[in-house]
Symmetry: C2
């Protein structure tokens, strides 16, 4: 896209500022540098074969292929990493990605779909927020190519790339039980989104398989817009339950970060006082005193497959649907007391 | 934007899938549910006052006000947080934000400017990458409103919101010297970008002010595309210098994360073996065994002021320029040995 010789190259060669070069080359503004200097700058530009119009031309006529990406929250490292992978993979196929966060709100997601679809992106990758079924159906009706990531709606046929969230949670909780824990709590988000329902189902069925009681006292749900306080209240409530708590499964990395900070503040030791399994990795965990057992999502593959499925769909005439479930991997380290 | 009654509300009331509601309300596809059920669904939709065309109408005619944001790297928490603040602040003013990462590459930044400007965003907020002076001058010539964040070009007059990076580095290094450190290294990125030049200048002048030698052996520059290995090699080289190393100033949070992991792997203790000051906060540091002394950037204010300056510029007829330098704050904790 960019021409080889930049204004800066000319500026450095002549020994003036980049702005001076711009003034000299842009004749309307010629008065801002001396005639002598302007002549010298223009001669240097010619000598270096500077092509000033190339950039503006590509900006005006070159239609860049564009994909839109709607994630839940850019400040969540899981989504930020996915976004980065999608950008890199799309770039490798000649596409530029623009994205935004829905903040788990259907209204914001509509705004983004509106902005991106109105501005003719070639396709969309979406981590759908709660109550956004209408939006997905709208995209289908409008035949706008899209691929869902992280979450999907089982009763709306569409392309998606997701983790087997049921298995992920089942494996995590079963692992804690195998290591002798009998009072395993789960901290989840309060949402109807399918991925979270599946994680809760995995937790419950692992307890059932071990013939442990499945009650509401150890499965706590926190609201998205009050995570920090919600996590504290939930952990307090679990610790106060008559039979106590000896292990905790966090359904997301954000819940784990808030939860571990609170557990540390209570001087509870991991894994002696509480065994821990978390969902997702994150730089935050690398420095935690007790290396965390966690469910690893194949973030690179999720991002790459989503781009691939979207490109396939865009190039097919019959609205081809692809659905990919990735197997979770339980990375066993010290926090689960194994 | 969204109508109050959704397809899902109707689906739940009737006890069918959302897709069935969509089929029933979309007469072209009526054959997919029974006539009886379709009638029931339509009656329920009417009862609930569902307005199916409202969404599609707003998508087609409603021009959503849009801002574009170009950051260096979405997977860097500093930029992810800025992006989130910009989104929230823009939303409060009725604007939707779409963004992308330049990956510190001028070519990618051009692609994004191309995509965003071609698709008529109302204005841009940009963390400019190296060698992108041409792009900034282009935006000025095209009279596309923009505000730079984090970095700027001193010889191109433009609106920006930045930290006083010179003072930030000076204060950090002076603090280490005040605490008795005499061999203070700095780990920086190899780039001509002004913010990094200023951080290096602050480091050097703090050493000079304390009459400590300023050589190249303790100021190491790492390449963006090989951070991890570059950090290891730089730390090895500093430790191997004849006079040794007793303190280290990291010019960014990413450099600090890689650097601390490597220091830990060498079994060097912070702050006894090495005193540390880092740039920026990050969740990663919250769990580090030794709380980090760091330079705090007012991320919220930077994001908010950038949106405000951009909106001011968009509403003024004379290309008004606003330039804001924020004062850094040195947060003193244990890692600097104070």
């Amino acid at each position: 896209m960019r021409n080889k010789v930049s204004l800066k190259d000319i500026a450095q060669k002549v020994g003036v500022s980049t702005a001076a070069v711009s003034y000299a080359l842009n004749k309307e503004k010629e008065g801002k540098v001396s005639d002598e200097m302007a002549a010298k700058i223009r001669a240097t530009a010619k000598e270096l074969n500077y092509q000033p119009n190339q950039i503006a031309k590509s900006l005006k006529i070159g239609r860049t292929n564009t994909l839109g990406l709607i994630i839940a929250d850019v400040s969540n490292p899981f989504f930020a990493t996915i976004a980065r992978v999608v950008e890199d993979e799309a770039k490798a196929h000649g596409y530029t990605v623009v994205f935004g966060s829905s903040d788990e709100k259907a209204e914001r997601s509509w705004d983004l779909i509106n902005v991106l679809a109105n501005r003719q992106v070639d396709g969309l990758i979406i981590a759908p927020s709660e109550a956004s079924e209408d939006q997905i159906l709208y995209l289908k009706e409008q035949k706008i190519p899209f691929v869902l990531i992280d979450r999907y709606y089982p009763d709306i046929p569409s392309s998606f790339v997701v983790l087997d969230n049921y298995k992920a949670a089942y494996d995590a909780v079963f692992h804690l039980i195998e290591n002798g824990r009998k009072r395993v709590g789960m901290l989840a988000y309060k949402t109807n989104l399918y991925h979270m329902q599946e994680r809760k189902r995995g937790y419950q069925e692992a307890l059932q398989a071990a013939e442990l009681p499945v009650g509401k006292s150890l499965l706590k749900e926190v609201k998205h817009d009050d995570t920090k306080n919600g996590v504290k209240a939930a952990i307090d409530a679990m610790l106060a339950s008559p039979e106590g708590l000896d292990a905790l499964f966090f359904a997301t990395n954000t819940l784990a970060i808030h939860g571990l900070k609170y557990i540390d503040s209570l001087n509870l030791k991991v894994p002696t006082d509480l065994a821990i399994v978390s969902f997702d990795e994150g730089e935050a965990f690398d420095f935690y005193y007790c290396p965390l057992t966690h469910i690893k999502q194949p973030v690179d593959e999720i991002g790459k497959e989503a781009v691939q499925l979207l490109l396939d769909q865009m190039s097919s005439s019959n609205g081809r649907i692809g659905q990919i479930h990735f197997e979770p991997e339980l990375i066993i380290r010290q926090s689960s007391g194994a």
